[in-house]
Amino acid sequence: MKKIILDPPEIARIITRISHEILEKNRGFKGIALVGIQTGGVFLANRIHQKIQEIDSVSVPLGELDITLYRDDLGLKKVGTPTADVPTIKTTSIPFDLTGLSVVLVDDVLFTGRTIRAAMDGLIDFGRPKQIQLAVLIDRGHRELPIRADFVGKNLPTAHNEKVEVRWKESGDDDYVCVINNEEGNP
């Protein structure tokens, strides 16, 4: 069973609000950078980047980060077991020095917090940011690590076995967020 939580206009409003909140908390655009986490966070980071450009006519540094190599749930195979599928590693590109900047990590859904932990490890390998902040479109609860978002689009209480799906216009769909109830056997 699929339930749409946010539709395109609602998502657009959220992005506008979050972009303002980021500028407010950081007292303007100076010294901030956006880094989107592959893959959903990258689209969102792009949108926020565009919105900040509309608001303050400035292009803040924008990067993308793939956390595959930093995950803690890799479950690398033991000697003697057959080789398994590997997740495809996507692009990481941080074309600026983030030392001394307030880096806003951007992801679409915040769940257990492990992705964010991995992202922070990855980020710190690139330099020493002054601060790391976190912006997410959806916070669905069920944290397993002490991680919290600074900027939240919507708090969405969910059951652990439900799946939250975020679709973006950029990947050929339309913008929406929906919740899928796994009990009915939906993938």
Binding site: L69, Y70, T88, T92
Partner: protein, 308 residues
């Protein structure tokens, strides 16, 4: 996406899709090598053993760096310090290493077929770092990566491999890889150094380098082992250099944008002139950089992480 076997023994055993997977994974690792902190925690806690029975600084160092950049623990064992000299068989030596929980064993040996022997008997993943005159798959893969990076493609290119093809495992790996990726391959060398049954590889064979370089997009030079002189394969080094050495005037006959490659170490003035080795067409040092990225990709893919 995965590699179909637990080992990497030979390019002749890889499917085209597997080669493409290794090359595309290597692209992401090359990016890691461009960072300030050239390390990712991916293979943390894994043990990689370099078991080298032939001396090699460059391949061994390359694999060692690849393992360390992935945060794996890397041990080097070379034959002079191994118990093989005490009469222990190769298989027993390797089983001892496996018993110490080695996840991946990288083997270089002067006897063809030794990685296959270990792969058959051990549960660890075996990477062939060069066996006899059979294959040197990671070198072949980094050569493919370099060509693809510089030229954007491999299919349809004309690649000329020059030198002692008979004794070269690099040549064989290159030939298998290039043919699978759709390149046109020509081999050039003195007749005694071209294997008798080379037509099974579907390559063009020539003895005349001047003719062969015309229209070449890539020229791969093989190292001439100086110990081969005096055995009748060719009269003298001087004559070899004159007939089969790549110099500027020969290079000029090739296509513009031609890549000059060499697995190293180079013999300046023998198979390649100094000015060509240091010139604009040479990508020899890029091969070395790419070697670490490709080897990181191989280690990563053989660690076969479970599903997300």
């Amino acid at each position: 996406m995965r590699l179909s076997k637990k080992d990497l023994l030979a390019i002749s055993e890889l499917q085209k899709e597997e080669i493409e997977l290794i090359l595309s994974t290597a692209v992401t690792f090359k990016e890691v090598l461009g960072r300030d902190i050239k390390k990712v925690p991916t293979l943390r806690g894994k043990t990689v053993v370099n078991l080298f029975f032939e001396p090699s600084t460059r391949t061994r160092t390359s694999f060692e760096l690849a393992a360390k950049r992935l945060s794996a623990d890397c041990i080097n064992i070379s034959s002079s310090s191994s118990s093989l000299t005490k009469g222990e068989s190769l298989l027993d030596t390797a089983k001892n290493i496996e018993a110490m929980q080695a996840d991946i064993i990288i083997l270089r040996h002067s006897s063809s077929g030794t990685p296959a022997l270990l792969a058959r008997h051990l549960k660890s993943s075996i990477i062939n770092a060069g066996d006899g005159t059979h294959e040197h798959p990671s070198q072949g893969l980094l050569d493919l990566f370099t060509i693809q990076e510089k030229k954007g493609t491999i299919a349809g290119l004309r690649v000329v491999i020059v030198g002692d093809i008979l004794h070269s495992r690099v040549a064989r790996s290159d030939i298998y890889g290039l043919k699978k990726m759709g390149a046109e391959v020509e081999i050039v060398g003195p007749p005694a150094m071209i294997p008798q049954s080379s037509d099974q590889w579907k390559v063009t064979t020539r003895y005349d380098l001047d003719k062969a370089v015309v229209g070449a997009d890539v020229i791969i030079l093989l190292r001439l082992q100086l110990e081969r002189q005096g055995k009748g394969f060719f009269p003298t080094l001087r004559e070899y250099a004159r007939l089969y050495g790549l110099n500027a005037s020969r290079l000029a006959k090739a296509n513009s944008g031609v890549l000059v490659m060499h697995p190293g170490p180079i013999n300046r003035g023998v198979e390649i002139s100094s000015d060509v080795a240091d010139g604009l067409s040479s990508v020899i040092l890029d091969q070395v950089t790419n070697g670490v990225a490709v080897r990181m990709a191989i280690l990563y893919l053989l660690s076969g992480q479970s599903h997300e």
